[in-house]
């Protein structure tokens, strides 16, 4: 289980706006692994464990909720300024998009 996305390694991405809606690519899903009690990303020929930030974001991706709404929900859960959370979420979504996990 390698290949763990991290916010630090994320590219800035081509201007992902808070109004954008992202969804999982076909053939990719977040799944709870009951036996190992962890969340995994299932994708073609590989399964990998997202870090806690990516997991928190991906659990809110439903193909309908705009990125801004995901940021609002996380700002309610975590004790950090919304601007900081927005920065992290946008960077992580850009990274997960580049990795063919999410698509706009």
């Amino acid at each position: 289980m390698t290949d763990v996305p991290t916010a630090a390694a994320a590219p800035t991405g081509p201007g992902l706006a808070e109004a954008a809606v992202v969804r999982f690519m076909r053939g990719v899903r977040l799944q709870h692994d009951r036996v190992r009690d962890q969340w995994v990303i299932q994708a073609p020929e590989r399964a990998f464990v997202p870090d806690p930030i990516a997991t928190a974001i991906l659990r809110l991706v439903d193909g309908q909720r705009p990125v801004g709404a995901i940021i609002d929900l996380l700002a309610g859960q975590f004790d950090a300024p919304r601007a900081v959370i927005a920065h992290d979420v946008l960077a992580m979504i850009a990274d997960l998009t580049a990795r063919q996990v999410l698509i706009r």
Partner: protein, 367 residues
């Protein structure tokens, strides 16, 4: 030894029957006949056990898994149990009519093999006229459906120069992934080694083509690249370690740590018809034989890489040194590394003819 962590993935080899005859096939020389194959009900039971144990992905393979009419039923059952389903196919039996039930059953991903980009050499390797057009058509309707598609090319001396065009074909067809996988020399590949092994210059050229494409295409096409380890100084971490992540079930129900493990002498092969998958995984002598590091001889035992490469490949140690418990001779620290060097130095200038993979065609009396 504590109970090992459960396997991550199951390779379900549903049948050894296949319309193609590729001389690098990873199936064993002794192919299982149709009469020995597990039934639908037996596979359903295996999928239940695998999901219960914690397997995340199942790879339906063969032979040609599309030769089994119960494939949609098995896919549907696996998907319902939360297993991620991959179909590993030659594509020659894949039509819109046979693909639709698989998509509706919840198939997650198709890996489609190509023997080459050009029809002539592709069909010479596969031994089936008309195969290339069927594969191209299969790729088109999988992509049109939106299901992720991986193209798989096995590389050898006859096609290594066409890697740039293989990558271009994958991009043109809209594949999400492509595997450029040099032949691995076991079973039929080992029999045909002199006909298949590329030169160092061919290997370097293929590697450069992959690196160029990665730089040019970025993340739009994932390229998995597998090298022929004969040219390496360090062994591959075969299967991520023996009996650690991966379990293979043969058409006749033998449960194996890798698809070549039936070459290992002096140990019995567990049978899924007579024991549970969990019991076999944890306790079968075959799985305990090379699990972890306790079995290791020197120089592996004292090596800092012992938990990275796990001593390399047991089947390769057996094939080249005659001892499955030896250090993989690919490793430059192996006392037998010179055997690998000698094999490469003695490759013929003109390749010998292929020994095609088919029932009854194995040298030495394989079925």
């Amino acid at each position: 030894m504590n109970a090992p962590p459960p396997p991550m993935s199951l390779l379900a080899e549903l049948t050894h029957r296949c319309p193609l005859q590729c001389p690098y096939c990873s199936n064993p020389l002794a192919l299982d006949g149709r009469e020995a194959e597990l039934s639908t009900a037996e596979w359903i039971g295996i999928l239940d056990q695998a999901a219960e144990m914690g397997v995340l992905q199942v790879h339906f393979s063969g032979g040609e898994p599309m030769a089994r009419p119960d494939l949609p039923e098995l896919v549907r059952h696996a998907a319902a149990r939360g297993l991620y389903t991959n179909l590993i196919t030659s594509g020659v039996l894949l039509t819109e009519a046979t693909f639709r039930p698989l998509a509706e059953a919840g198939l997650d991903h198709v890996q489609l093999s190509f023997q080459d980009v050009d029809t002539g050499p592709a069909e010479q390797v596969g031994g089936m006229k008309g195969a290339q057009a069927k594969k191209l058509e299969a790729a088109r309707f999988v992509v049109a459906d939106g299901m992720p598609l991986t193209l798989n090319f096995v590389i050898h001396r006859g096609n290594a120069g066409r890697v740039p065009r293989m990558l271009e074909l994958a991009r043109t067809l809209g594949a999400r992934r492509v595997e450029i996988a040099h032949t691995q020399y076991y079973g039929w590949g080992l029999v045909n080694r002199a006909a298949l092994m590329p030169s160092r210059a061919q290997l370097d050229e293929a590697t450069q083509a992959v690196e160029d494409a990665r730089a040019r295409l970025g993340s739009s096409l994932t390229i998995d690249y597998v090298t022929p380890d004969y040219y390496a100084d360090r062994p591959k971490p075969c299967m991520g370690g023996w009996g650690q992540r991966f379990v293979n079930i043969s058409p006749a129900g033998r449960v194996l740590p890798c698809h070549a493990a039936e070459t290992i002498p002096g140990v019995s092969f567990p049978d899924i018809r007579t024991a549970t998958l969990a019991d076999i995984w944890e306790n079968a002598p075959l799985f305990r034989l090379f699990r972890g590091t306790d079995w290791m001889p020197e120089p592996c035992r004292g090596c800092d890489f012992r938990e990275q490469d796990w001593g390399g490949c047991r089947c390769q140690a057996l094939a080249l040194v005659g001892d499955a418990g030896a250090t993989d001779p690919i490793c430059s620290r192996s006392p037998h590394h010179d055997r690998v060097t000698a094999i490469l130095e003695e490759l013929p200038a003109e390749p010998p003819p292929f020994v095609y993979r088919r029932f009854g065609n194995a040298p030495g009396g394989g079925r």
